[in-house]
Symmetry: C2
Subunit: 252 residues, 2 copies
């Protein structure tokens, strides 16, 4: 079965989508078969890859039980993406009980095609969509931008995850990804230092530096590897994809 | 009655909280009585002002009909803040019909204390909390950070607001606030240019420049006017508060 990763953080603008796009493409470029799921009704994972984004997608998986492969669109060589679909916001109001949380997980077990990785981009919220992602995944990667408010939210997020997982009797491996790092500024260095201290063995080895190429690439529907392959953004995300693959973290 | 402003954008990390904090304090420093409402369960508006943030707040206004003043905490001279309260996330699942959208608006009409301004910080989502903010407000201010994904989301947000307002037969005045501006970079200049072009008469006059003081201040529980009053961040937010007060926009 594929290894499933989700980029999760209810704090906005910390780099969930930027990481989903560039880690998914880095893995595909390394020869792995990757399926991307755009779980954010905003559809930025799809848009960043240059896809139209208005087609039906995950909404039909939730509401009509359509198979993931039927709604997966070719995005790059070895990379397919299921867009959110126009009705995805309505999932949050879906009627039903506990089984609603397992819809995505069940859809993944029914995948006939072998994938090496599934990469899920989550919205900045914690409702039914986020629960579905959590119950479908092996690894939770929490991007944390190097500023105070993002750090402040992380402890609460970790506690919430532990509580939710205990209640559902599941467990995932959790990693912290340092994003928007700038080694010359005091606040980013302090935030990164605190993350290493509070989450020993969980902070992924490569921080993603602040790099304008990462912000510009989506405007062209390109990943950073296409838009500016020599940039720090491309180097950092290539290294990060390897960290994720090998589970390479900062030692305590 | 007070003039009510909401900082709204379902895109994350665009500066809703940073703007709520510093515009609210700028107005209080100019002599106006300001009531802040922290509608984000993450409680960052409260945290950025140095408040504890775990006390009951807006959750009791929604669930028990407690008055806003009873849960408002003194934050600064002429600035009080109602924190979210620990149960605010449960509001999204509240049972009931159309009347659920009007709870905040009704609570504001029942305010016995005269305030000049009410400043509401919204979460990066579009559920029942956002609807309550929309139905309670006069002005919607949409912070847009100078990057492609924030610009991409704005057109959709405007359309959604128009549709929601038509359905509820209300109307608000809508403004765009340019944030994280950096005049030396191409992408921020392009994004700002496009905003002026697509939204003539709606873009607030002063862009907020990228300024590290704005990111550092919350870590000390201070507004930028306390933390670094001579910074560009302080100058820009002081000018923006005047723009908001006078409805000063870029002409087409
Ligand atoms: N390392 C970086 N350097 C420069 N810009 C970045 C970097 N990471 C992300 N950005 C930019 O910051 C903005 C926010 O990033 P992104 O959209 O990936 O965050 P997000 O967590 O997915 O946001 P949301 O919570 O809205 O889904 C984007 O415009 C992106 O291009
Ligand atoms: N003009 C600016 N210059 C530098 N840093 C900024 C600026 N505006 C905001 N920031 C920083 O960027 C981060 C995101 O800003 P903020 O939390 O205000 O956005 P938000 O829209 O409220 O996010 P969310 O969607 O999670 O509620 C914060 O750490 C903040 O300190
Ligand atoms: Mg995103
Ligand atoms: Mg906020």
């Amino acid at each position: 079965p594929p290894r499933t990763l989700i980029f999760l953080n209810q704090k906005g603008g910390v780099g969930k989508t930027t990481s989903s796009v560039n880690v998914a493409h880095a893995l595909a470029l390394s020869g792995y078969e990757v399926l991307g799921l755009d779980l954010d009704p905003q559809g930025h994972f799809a848009a960043s890859l240059g896809l139209e984004g208005l087609d039906p997608g995950l909404d039909e998986i939730f509401f009509e039980g359509v198979g993931l492969l039927e709604r997966a669109q070719p995005a790059r060589e070895r990379l397919r993406l299921v867009p959110p679909g126009p009705r995805l916001p309505e999932v949050e109001q879906m009627a039903g009980g506990r089984e609603r949380g397992w819809i995505l997980q069940r859809a993944l077990t029914q995948l006939k095609q072998p994938f090496d990785y599934v990469v899920i981009d989550c919205p900045p919220s914690s409702g039914l969509l986020a629960i579905n992602a959590l119950l479908a995944t092996d690894d939770v990667i929490m991007p944390v931008s190097c500023d105070y408010l993002a750090l402040e939210g992380l402890a609460g997020l970790m506690r919430t995850l532990m509580r939710v997982e205990q209640g559902l009797n599941i467990s995932t491996r959790k990693y912290v990804l340092v994003t928007r790092f700038n080694g010359q500024r005091r606040l980013p260095r302090e935030v990164r230092g605190k993350l290493e201290e509070y989450f020993p063995g969980q902070v992924l080895y490569t921080p993603i530096r602040d790099n304008v190429a990462l912000a510009e690439a989506p405007g062209f529907g390109q990943t950073v590897f296409e838009y500016r392959p020599e940039s720090n953004g491309a180097k950092d995300y290539a290294a990060l994809a390897e960290d994720i693959r090998l589970r390479r973290v900062l030692e305590a």
